[in-house]
Symmetry: C2
């Protein structure tokens, strides 16, 4: 059973998951082992993953029953075989249609070292039955169903009272921590509110109290007006290199219309994003073919109703530099590329 521990000094949490050392890593294998015939995410290899949590068919509908052939699915959600968080009981969820009051377990007086079971879930979204490596190679239907899967899983997981948050994220390329090439995302649900979200929510709330406006909406307005850091726009979205980008070509994607919870987006909004997000990633990949990157979705926590002060967004982090002792020791980043220059290159 994985456990989660807190460092008394930095308050940071660490998940200990000893099973994950056994993960296969196809990037470490010889090149001839990497073709589709051995990929557990390809059509025809459905038995190589645990039974699916959800599957989406060609008609765009969710097929929950067992699929007969690989013709039947475009996107599927399966449990991670080497999960960092486990123990959240999928079967029990169906009973919990509304989020109950979470139980409180007062413990012994605060010890120097805090730990608890790493209860949660860790799911994989396989984005295509074909062996493609990038979200930019997906059909519109596949991209749309991938975003549908994100939304549906968040709507489901937020019902579970032991969970406070779920991060949707993506690792592309070995330098970004990916172990498999086939296009996929992950959804990791945690029993605590992760510190990065805590910090954002707290800054956003303070800013709202001071200005009576959402911090993200202020940022959008300034980026649209200044244009210097703008990368691209769509009907519903805007992409820009943030003012204090941590890495060269870091890019954020935000909805123009204020919305705190990704899972409240309409199908029309998802369809716009399913076109826009691959366009933004394509600009990055055109600049750096086979770019290694991570992206993640920041959305409001499960135990909140729509918030005035928070705004969901996607952060894309290209992995062109290596964090070294300075970054680890200070928490500061060193970036050799100004976001204004990065955005100009990505626009052209």
């Amino acid at each position: 059973m994985p456990e989660i521990r807190q460092d008394p000094l930095s308050s940071r949490w660490v998940i200990f998951a000893e099973d994950r050392e056994r993960r296969p890593n196809e990037y470490r294998l010889a090149r001839h082992h990497r073709h589709a015939s051995q990929c557990p995410f390809c059509a025809g290899h459905e038995a190589d993953t645990p039974p699916p949590i959800a599957q989406y068919g060609r008609d765009g509908r969710q097929a929950l029953g067992p699929v007969q052939t690989h013709e039947d699915w475009l996107v599927r959600v399966v449990p991670n075989k080497f999960p960092a968080l486990v123990g959240h009981d999928h079967a029990a969820d169906d009973a919990e249609r509304t989020r109950p009051v979470p139980p409180c377990h007062p413990g012994r007086p605060r010890d120097l070292y805090q730990q608890r079971p790493a209860i949660g879930s860790h799911e994989v979204v396989v984005e295509s039955p074909r062996h493609v490596a990038s979200l930019t190679e997906l059909s519109h239907d596949e991209a749309m169903l991938t975003l549908r899967a994100y939304r549906d899983r968040l709507r489901h997981l937020r019902q579970v009272h032991t969970l406070r948050y779920a991060l949707v994220f993506k690792n592309v390329g070995p330098a970004a921590g990916a172990s498999l090439e086939h296009a996929h995302s992950q959804i990791a649900a945690t029993p605590i509110l992760p510190v990065e979200l805590q910090r954002e929510l707290s800054a956003a709330e303070t800013s709202y109290a001071m200005h009576g406006e959402c911090l993200f909406c202020r940022m959008l307005e300034q980026e649209l007006a200044e244009e210097r850091r703008l990368v691209a726009t769509s009907a519903d979205g805007i992409a820009f290199c943030p003012f204090a980008s941590r890495t060269p070509y870091e890019t954020w994607v935000l909805p123009r219309q204020h919305a705190s919870h990704f899972e409240d987006q309409s199908l029309e909004q998802l369809a716009d994003l399913a076109r826009f997000l691959p366009q933004v990633l394509e600009r990055l990949e055109r600049l750096h073919p086979r770019l290694a990157y991570n992206f993640f979705l920041h959305t409001a926590p499960f135990d909140t109703l729509p918030l005035h002060h928070y705004h969901w967004h996607i952060e894309i982090i290209p992995r062109l530099t290596t964090a070294a002792g300075f970054e680890w020791g200070t928490g500061l980043f060193i970036n050799p590329v100004l976001p204004e220059n990065a955005a100009r290159t990505l626009r052209d």
Copy 2:
């Protein structure tokens, strides 16, 4: 001129240093380019670095004047050729023997985006005239003079009123962000208190207020009593894998005797550390030959006198795993090796 910018959302600071993209990286060059004859840190190549800030001779004394031959030095401190922080005037320092009241420049009302010049310094400590890669290959004199250089530079830099902190750190191996193989450390002085230090100081102060004891001293006591995470001890020091280690085999080195400022250590204490630190690193290197790692020194900020609640320490971070989207998006870490198991392996 590098600048430093703050993200309004996370409050994190990023240093933009466009020059650093021009850094040479010998690890990317062909293998036959990597021998000592082209290394700028080797004896005989003194002209390949900027003029030294400090040099330590074989007699253990600091030779500030120009050295005639490479026979004359064991350890030298030179400015980083591709600095992340610049503009702190070395010549002007000599006038400032005591730390004056820092000038206050009230600016315009708080803008959405904050930025300022990245004033500071970025120095390199060359740890040996010989082309060795690891601190474990240094002679005792070289290790001792390296620690002396850390202490002397911290004592010097803390006099400069524009500086609030300096991080001493080390990158070993390309996976840890090193671009040169020759054993060296770096000292980066910043005009702000880095966020990792802010967090530690704040947790330490809260804990001191609650318990009337230094948090680090409490930790030492518990680690010595429990023994499960202990790696090694010396007369003055203790090394253990912290309870919430971020990476496999993360190891911290602390002085047994409470001390907030590294620069206040005596020569006897440094001599003990000059033996102990290589012994600890040797345990890690024996387990993983040519291990890539970072270490950094956390010490109290320049504008403090000896503190009851803070305790200097060194954190060693082996780079055996890659932070991926989950870590970037949540601020949580996933570690496949429990510190109790890591410490047992390192002890044996």
